[in-house]
């Protein structure tokens, strides 16, 4: 009898797990189903560039059908998981009716999916209401953490004539820790090209005692901010935004006025994780840092943004974690011993940091070793640009 493996979430982590399993396991060993709420796969790093380019939200550099990225052996269900029942090992799913669902369910809009193994790659969601002042005032503040948000920010910049721009984060943790810094550098470039830089004060506010969590990276980034006349304030943990007065204030008691506010909205884990009582206070899944099993559960794995691991919430972490989850599942299903190196996540992350002026650096680290970023150069910028294009052909498929 094939084992039923259910994967929830068609982001980078869930998609790689599905494809690696489908390539290794025979149909009589496992039936693999991926459930995704939209049926579309977004390349989120592309949103960073959108405020400054002309790319459309539906452009295939940014979004593609999940089906096109999945191995044919993976069954795709488009629908919202309503409930995770780990006692009875089943998921309750409300379908968005596509052909797969109609064939699979005979047209029922809700169905129950039993599993032998469950992989939760449910990601993070933006919850503006977690920061006083953001809820209901959309349009009076901006972000680049969704395609729509980036387009609105592009619109706001198109009418910007100079003034004070504040860039910060609205909560911790947030996806892709370098992104606010990268945005700041790209904004500086854009303002210079638009002839607005001398009419604009850019202020970067950051929660930690330095401009980036990792000291070696902060040492590279801080002189670049100074060189480009970006004002920065550290130890600034946003407490509230007053969109009427146009002032942002911190837990530490400081305030800054702005004309344009770019703020990463607070993040939480998926709603279904909160509602199923599996997550912590913010909906992150308590996850074993090495095996990626969800603590206190049997046959349940978590990866990517959904976990509570002390690693960056990034596609890169999800990518490396996916290989571990797939390796462990294959070994479990075959009754084999998972071999140590490939079956243990060591905190590996590899990402780029755009530093503007067509330069970038690269961060490679794990639980044991901090990164030693090379001097920003055109080489890493080009590598990142190449990766942005090549992503669709190599990453979701699990080829790298």
């Amino acid at each position: 009898m094939p084992q039923h493996i259910l994967i929830v979430g068609g982001g980078v982590g869930g998609t790689i797990v599905a494809n690696l399993l489908a390539r290794s396991l025979h149909r009589n060993e496992a039936e693999i189903t991926l459930i995704d709420s939209t049926g579309k796969h977004a390349y989120m790093p592309g949103w960073l560039y959108m405020p400054f380019n002309h790319v459309d939200a539906e452009d295939d550099q940014l979004i593609r059908p999940e089906r096109d990225l999945l191995n044919n052996h993976v069954h795709l269900v488009t629908g919202e998981v309503q409930k995770i029942d780990t006692q009875n090992r089943e998921l309750h799913v409300r379908h968005s009716m596509g052909l797969d669902e109609i064939i699979g369910t005979g047209g029922a809009s809700e169905a129950m999916y039993p599993y032998d193994y469950l992989v939760l790659a449910t990601g993070a969601r933006l919850v503006a209401s977690d920061l006083p002042g953001l809820d209901g005032t959309e349009g009076k503040w901006h972000h680049f953490y969704s395609a729509e948000g980036s387009l609105q920010l592009r619109q706001a910049l198109s009418t910007f004539e100079g003034g004070r721009i504040v860039i910060t984060v609205g909560g911790i943790p947030y996806r892709c820790p370098p992104a606010p810094l990268e945005f700041t550098f790209l904004l500086d470039d854009w303002l210079r090209k638009s002839g607005l830089r001398d009419k604009t004060e850019i202020r970067y506010l950051y929660p930690l005692p330095r401009v980036f969590p990792i000291e070696s990276v902060a040492e590279v980034a801080t002189p670049l901010l100074e060189e480009r006349d970006v004002k920065y304030t550290v130890f600034f943990n946003t407490e509230a935004v007053d969109t009427e007065r146009k002032v942002i204030s911190s837990m530490e008691g400081e305030e800054f006025p702005y004309d344009l506010l770019v703020i990463v909205p607070p993040h939480r884990g998926a709603k279904v994780i909160e509602e199923s009582g599996m997550g912590d206070e913010q909906g992150w899944l308590p996850t074993d840092r090495a095996t990626l099993e969800v603590k206190g559960q049997e046959r349940v794995y978590a990866l990517g943004d959904a976990t509570d691991l002390p690693v960056s919430k990034s596609g890169s972490a999800a990518h490396f974690e996916a290989k571990v989850v797939a390796h462990r599942l294959i070994a479990e299903i075959r009754g084999e011993e998972a071999s140590n190196g490939e079956a243990t996540y060591d905190g590996e992350v590899m990402c780029f940091l755009e530093t503007g002026q067509n330069k970038a650096t690269q961060l490679v680290f794990n639980y044991e070793h901090p990164p030693h970023p090379p001097r920003p150069s055109l080489y890493y910028h080009m590598e990142k640009q190449l990766f942005n294009r090549a992503y669709w052909y190599i990453v979701p498929q699990g080829l790298v």
Binding site: G171, I172, P173, P177, P207, L208, P209, P213, I214, E215, F235, N237, M251, E252, D280, E281, Q282, R289, P310, V311, S312, G347, V349, L363, F365, N366, Y367, E368, P370, P371
Partner: protein, 82 residues
């Protein structure tokens, strides 16, 4: 500094091996969701935490209870005051 055995820890975060976002970020995140009066412990193997963590706690006006060295890491303990 009190003995660790005298302190009731309400929540402990294992941030060992975390470079990004790092132990201080984990502590700030933990503080935000902890009820006022709660005691938070963060485990860190990063030598920089000995400076960063007390500095932030002081700046944010919480109560720094202390740093307790363990084998290869330190347990930082603080109480949320507001």
């Amino acid at each position: 500094m009190p003995e660790l055995t005298d302190i009731t820890i309400d929540k402990e975060i294992d941030a060992r091996g975390s470079f990004c976002p790092g132990p201080l970020m984990e502590l700030i995140r933990g503080m935000k969701v902890l009820p006022v009066g709660g005691v938070l412990a963060v485990l860190s193997g990063d030598p920089g935490s000995a400076k960063d963590i007390p500095a932030w706690i002081q700046k944010a006006k919480h109560d720094y209870i202390g740093a307790f060295p363990e084998q290869g890491y330190t347990r930082f303990v603080a109480r949320k005051t507001h």
